[in-house]
Symmetry: C2
Subunit: 183 residues, 2 copies
């Protein structure tokens, strides 16, 4: 849970980062930047900020904004209603992001899971994405990612997003917004 | 048909525009920027430049780059192999673009079709897209667009692209690249 003040401050910080990266958004979009604390109330370490451009029953496009060192915890996207799980392409636009997927574990990975939560991080093959670099994940691929020291902006191109169906390795994670007093 | 010199020059101009807009691409991507003259050999008036980030059997994302006043002629995306036609979202990143779709014809539209080709432009409902503004077209929507006086960069988020199946109003249009001497 975060306070309304923390929520507004995280939104503004997200917009400032997008502005710095030359990504222009409308006032209506600025208002609906999503701050996903995932139930931890600890945005400096865990969560992400999201601006969804479009999400139809076929296609979704978003910007994901991560503060320096912020982690999106391990999860995957299961099949829903007979359709394959969400397919995602992550394209780094700004900063640097460390993406972890199944495969040969990377020695000396750049990211560290949030202290005390190591047990929920099980895939350790590292893909470093710098601006202009991208990676496409097939459906049902477990993954997690962490921003580098300056933060990161990542464009996500995917099939339909159904966030409420995401399966996180940490069963405590709540995907729904957890903001105090937000009407 | 365009010469190899025209092709390289259009590629470089495209990359310069992307750079100005803060869009970072890899050297490999720079090499494969597509210059679609659509068979007219008249890039200042007709065609578009394309960088495809990803095109899987479910999702496609591209940047479309248009020179000042350049026109992508009227076309639509038919159903293919039992799947609905391509669904597209156009999001203006830089410059200004005038998009025409079915609906009430706009009085005094901003764009003009290339002289002598007016008969192939049949939809006249104007949507002006400036940076941060976007429009989603349902499958099989006839559309055409023209860049404003500074050109335009438009992100396209869509289902799978199958350019060779596009149906243009002008039957002379060839979607395949028409470059002299390009190996």
């Amino acid at each position: 849970m975060i306070s309304l003040e923390e929520f507004r401050s995280a939104q503004q910080r997200t917009l400032d980062m997008m502005d710095k990266a030359g990504i222009i958004v409308t006032p209506e979009e600025a208002e609906r930047v999503e701050v996903a604390d995932l139930g931890f109330g600890d945005l400096e370490r865990i969560g992400l900020q999201i601006l969804t451009y479009v999400n139809t029953d076929r296609v979704c496009a978003k910007e994901l904004v991560l503060f320096p060192g912020q982690t999106c915890p391990e999860h995957y996207h299961p099949p829903v209603a007979g359709e394959s799980g969400k397919e995602e392409t992550f394209r780094c636009r700004w900063g640097e992001v460390y993406l972890y997927v199944p495969g040969e574990p990377t020695k000396e990975p750049r990211a560290k899971p949030p202290a005390g939560q190591e047990e929920y991080y099980t895939v350790w093959h590292e893909v470093v994405l710098r601006p202009g670099e991208q990676c496409t994940l097939p459906p049902e691929t477990r993954h997690w990612f962490q921003a580098g020291p300056e933060g990161a902006i990542v464009s996500e191109f995917s099939t339909t997003s159904r966030d409420e169906t995401d399966i996180f390795a940490d069963p405590r994670i709540m995907r729904e917004p957890q903001v105090e007093e937000l009407d």
